[in-house]
């Protein structure tokens, strides 16, 4: 069963992110990633750029609507995601609690829809 761990940050928390290799928060992330891989549960994941770099697109009555910034106008914005293969939601919550994003911002755990595959969304559907 696959779960998405979605990491949310406030603008202040986004501002605390650095690319400095020696930054302890980044060090914690590297260690967390390593633990996920070594435990054999990691599927994929990535960090996102700050919300201001986002652009939101809609088509309404055949017309394009393009909006600067993220879709949702909320204080906490999606900062990254991880997909994990795990036996249960309990295991997913354990990993969410260990996520460095949980002690800085918040982590939402949500199962991936197994329906999507069956419906042929990914082209992997079996008749």
């Amino acid at each position: 069963m696959q779960f998405a761990l979605m990491i949310y940050h406030t603008p202040q928390e986004f501002a605390m992110r650095t690319n400095d290799y020696a930054d302890p928060h980044l060090g914690a992330w590297r260690a967390y990633y390593k633990a996920l891989v070594e435990a054999g549960v990691y599927v994929s994941g990535d960090a996102l750029e700050v919300p201001e770099t986002g652009t939101t697109v809609r088509l309404r009555e055949g017309k394009r609507r393009v909006q600067d910034g993220p879709y949702a106008d909320t204080k906490e914005q999606l900062a990254g995601f991880i997909i994990l293969e795990l036996p249960s939601v309990d295991a997913a919550l354990e990993w969410a609690a260990r996520c460095p994003g949980a002690s800085l911002g918040a982590v939402e755990v949500r199962p991936l829809s197994p329906e999507a595959k069956r419906r042929g969304f990914t082209g992997e559907s079996k008749q």
């Binding site: 060090g27 590297r30 260690a31 990633y33 390593k34 070594e38 435990a39 054999g40 309990d90 260990r98």
Partner: protein, 411 residues
């Protein structure tokens, strides 16, 4: 005293009575009907009534008796509504007892021991033993329990309801087990109380401390159990173990919130009264002459506490306690603790050898193993391997302060 103050006092009295009497009242109300959910509903209605009436009329002379009488009235109302379904012998008995009003005195039997055994009954999912105790004996709400056990609050609520339904309808007896079953059944109760406390506090090398924020509640439950079973060595042992750990609570954090491992703690910051109380219970336990898991764990913590007196730690003794502990409960935590103790007593190679004997598949998610391993590899000067092990420990750590500590040690 002005009115506000006295109102505050009344509220505090209600809180205290609720805390002290909750389990006794729930146990008494449910012992015959086995209906925990209705007993809890009735009691919470009584508490609401107390919040309304006591500030106006003053606190009754016998607050517990008042709560019991009020709770019984609403309990009977509930039961009357369900009468068709529930017109059973025990229900009728309760109705009758009420009409004679026999229980207005403070003297009603303490049935909490039966309730504790029901919560940790083998027919109930072991994962629900602790949540049930916290709710029915201490009155904690499902959300708070859910936080502590890292479960979605709605799910925890549903699981509690299911467990109570099983207790009501599943023929689970409200009784103290017979001699023959007692040791095994008591283990279940002790395990459940210890599970509320959190994982071990053997925090020498930055082992992740996933306390459940329920340490006080766990100690309270152990005290209740000891009061009800004063001659059980393992009950004394469990209380001694938790008190030793509690004695170090403040010393585990520096003034800046930094994590301080046991070996670097200043014993002057340990609570001497708690240590003395722990030692008292451990001595009492030993006089019973029946060894057990919790006494051994308490003995290990007692050996650490010795540093406050003599400045020394007898690692050989600690390693021996662990060895005996492995024979009774070979949990991963015990084996990691044993490795750490062996390393202190006979050098890091010996400790590492103990770790090597553990199957790697079992520790891929187990933080303490990697924390101990990293520490021992570092002592052996194996920098690269140590750094790898530190990474694993850091990646599996939950407490940010522990994570920070390990990051610094990794260098």
């Amino acid at each position: 005293m002005n009115r506000n103050n006295s109102q505050e006092d009344t509220h505090r009295t209600i809180e205290r009575v609720a805390r002290e009497s909750y389990g006794r009242l729930v146990a008494y109300l449910s012992v015959h009907t086995h209906d925990l959910a209705s007993a809890e509903d009735a009691l919470s209605e009584a508490l609401v009534a107390a919040l309304k009436n006591w500030p106006r009329d003053g606190v009754p002379q016998n607050p517990e008796g008042w709560l019991l009488t009020t709770a019984r009235h609403s309990f009977i109302d509930v039961v009357r509504h369900q009468r068709v379904a529930l017109a059973s012998e025990p229900t009728l008995k309760l109705l009758q007892e009420n009409s004679t009003n026999a229980v207005l005195s403070a003297e009603f039997p303490d049935e909490r021991l039966k309730l504790l055994f029901v919560c940790a009954h083998p027919a109930i999912d072991p994962a629900m033993h602790t949540p049930l105790m916290l709710q029915t004996v201490l009155g904690l709400d499902a959300t708070r329990i859910a936080h502590a056990f890292l479960v979605p609050p709605k799910t925890m609520g549903q699981r509690l309801v299911r467990a109570k339904t099983k207790i009501r309808d599943g023929g689970i007896q409200f009784e103290v087990p017979q001699e023959r079953d007692l040791p095994r059944r008591l283990d279940g109760v002790l395990e459940a109380i210890y599970a509320a406390f959190g994982i071990g506090w053997d925090d020498m090398f930055g082992i992740d401390q996933r306390g459940r924020d329920l340490a006080e509640e766990a100690v309270w439950l152990a005290r209740v159990l000891l009061q009800l079973m004063p001659h059980e060595a393992e009950v004394q042992g469990l209380l001694a173990l938790m008190l030793h750990c509690e004695a170090r609570r403040t010393a585990r954090r520096g003034p800046d919130g930094r994590y301080v491992p046991l070996s670097e703690q200043d014993p002057k910051q340990w609570s001497l009264p708690l240590i003395e109380e722990a030692e008292h219970h451990l001595r009492e336990a030993f006089t019973q002459g029946r060894s057990g898991r919790f006494q051994l764990e308490a003995a290990i913590q007692s050996a650490h506490a010795e540093r406050a007196r003599s400045g020394r730690i007898d690692w050989t003794a600690i390693a021996l306690f662990y060895e005996r502990l492995i024979n009774t409960s070979p949990a991963l935590g015990t084996r990691a603790g044993y490795a750490a103790a062996v390393a202190e007593a006979s050098g890091p190679e010996a400790g590492l050898a103990v770790l090597e004997s553990i199957d790697l598949d079992t520790v891929s998610h187990y933080q303490p193993y990697w924390a101990v391993r990293a520490h021992l590899l570092q002592r052996l000067g194996k920098a690269r391997e140590a750094s790898d092990a530190y990474d694993r420990a850091i990646g599996l750590a939950e407490d940010p302060a522990v994570r920070e500590f390990l990051l610094q040690k990794r260098g």
